[in-house]
Amino acid sequence: MFKDLFRSKPKYVTVRPHKQSDRSEKKEIPGGLWIKCNKCNNILYRKDLEKSLSVCPKCGYHFVISAKERILELVDPDSFKEMDADLETADPLGFPDYLDKLSKYQEETGMKEAIITGKATILGQRLVLALIDFNFMRGSMNTVVGEKLVRAFAVATKEKMPVVVISGGGGGARMQEGVLSLMQMARTCQAVEKHNNAGLLYIAVLTQATMGGVYASFASQADIILAEPGALIGFAGPRIIEQTMKQSLPEGFQTAEYVYQHGHIDRIVARPFLKVTLAHLLAWHGR
């Protein structure tokens, strides 16, 4: 039995929710030796921040991390086998300046697209893992992101494996591929549903930020929905809502804590607890 693994762990994984909200959607850790926290404004030593999984040791603010950093943090060493690494978009609409923009992001991030998928183990538990990288065009969903998600769920369905998706799609569906990006909402929902019908576990971890077409499709269709503290989660962007409603937004609106209070998230899990929480849940659903 797997429960031995958790014997020394606290019985109730407790999470300290943030009281203050934070709207800044992206702030990578820059190259320098020192870095200022987006929330508490303390100056942090870069090495310290890395050691604490990019969570501010002073205030608990969760910095955005890349898909690659997340893999290093989360999965067992050398267990990650990437799938479909070479897929690139065909720029189906021939959208102005799109290919240039893509090249720029590819150079910046070293990724071909906004998603990495693969098989891995977390504390020995097998899973298919998909990670959306907010740094690549705000993690927006295009044909490649959709296709790689669909393939990941299909592999998991075929091999009877659970899926964990770490979402972070601040841009929702990607404009530059037009209605084909929209169709990825349809495809991913259907892929999730097939996996669901096979009785398999799907856990979504909503991180900064999970908005628009990403939230309105696969990201909100999981059996269990976890979220990182302070992550922005919603359908319409805060600015659009402010413009439409002509009123200011409530304190903490669309933060993970706010969305949790409204019943849409199972649990907010601080980054240091994510690995053990996932292993926990994977073990309990493994048979």
Partner: protein, 323 residues
């Protein structure tokens, strides 16, 4: 302005028609024979009409489907179905009048009909929240879809929606999850589903209701991941380039038929659906009947598999739409 009865690009035609009417009046009053002159002008008007309406840009079509006299969903339902019994409420939180649903008879056969509903005037638009559904609307749709499945009724959706409502309470009650759930439910329903984009097909709020085994589109309708105005704002920080964005986004029925996003274009009367409602109703009804007939022979399993396959291709390597 978009919201006037005469659209900018129609003005030359309207002017000409006005002049013809004046000339006829003048000839009548003075008892003159101006039939040659009138004929010439009428020929010119006819030619102009074709020139204008046969060569509409995407942007002009958008203005047509936003025309205040464009038939709304309930008007189309009235034209197409022998009878319609509206059902209300999501059984959870509220009744959303921005999305109507019920059972209609299509040639005597009961079908479940779902459609966002815009108002016909300012008052009704306010009542119906400008046809922008809250989560309750989508959850009513989910409820009625499952009811249709129970009773083996096909589901027909008529989609004319700028998008799901972007509001504080809509977010609080899970606009995103409600849309995702609607996509999932309609996307795996065991009864035939036919979606018709009848006007504005705006983003996820439209897609949620467009998971058809067959997806049809009225000639002038558009279907897009983002409104051209918003695309312009994102690209150029202002909405002056909405026309260009409309073209670049490939949102017209012809573009989408080319990409196989839709299966069929339902022609509109010359100048748009509002120019001849009865004709529009007949054309829509014919298309629904024909497409339903195609699906009627399939088993529940075949219906589900066919729908999965239909949407699976978008983005696949070798997708016909991508090559």
């Amino acid at each position: 302005m978009v919201n006037t009865a005469i659209l900018d690009f129609e003005k030359p035609l309207v002017e000409l028609e006005k002049r013809i009417a004046e000339l006829k009046n003048f000839a009548n009053e003075r008892n003159l024979d101006l039939s040659d002159e009138i004929d010439t002008l009428q020929n010119r008007a006819e030619k102009l009409k074709r020139e204008i309406y046969f060569n509409l840009t995407s942007w002009q079509r958008i203005q047509l489907v936003r025309h205040p006299q464009r038939p709304t969903a309930l008007e189309l339902i009235d034209l197409v179905f022998d009878d319609f019994f509206e059902l209300h409420g999501d059984r959870l939180f509220g009744e959303d009048t921005a999305l109507v649903g019920g059972v209609g008879l299509l040639n005597g056969e009961p079908v479940t009909v779902l459609a966002p509903q815009k108002g016909r005037d300012t008052k009704e638009n306010i009542e119906r929240n400008f046809g922008l559904p809250h989560p309750e609307g989508y959850r009513k749709a989910i409820r009625l879809m499952k009811q249709a499945e129970k009773f083996h009724r096909p589901v027909i959706t008529l989609v004319d929606v700028v998008g799901a409502y972007p509001g504080i309470e809509a977010e609080e009650r899970g606009q995103g999850p409600a849309i995702a759930e609607t996509i999932t439910v309609m996307g795996s329903l065991q009864v035939p589903t036919i979606a018709v984009i009848t006007g504005e097909g705006g983003s996820g709020g439209a897609l949620a209701l467009a998971m058809g085994n067959r997806v049809l589109m009225l000639e002038n309708a558009y279907y897009s991941v983002i409104s051209p105005e918003s695309a312009s704002i994102i690209l150029y920080k202002n909405d002056n380039y909405a026309q260009e964005a409309a073209e670049a986004l490939k949102i017209s029925s012809r573009d989408l038929l080319g990409m196989q996003i839709i299966d069929e274009i339902i022609p509109e009367p010359l100048g748009g659906a509002h120019k001849d409602r009865e004709a529009m109703g007949r054309l829509l009804k014919e298309a629904l009947e024909r497409n339903l007939a195609i699906l009627k022979g399939l088993s529940a399993e075949e219906i589900v598999t066919a729908r999965y396959r239909r949407f699976e291709v978008y983005g696949k390597i070798g997708d016909p739409g991508l090559e």
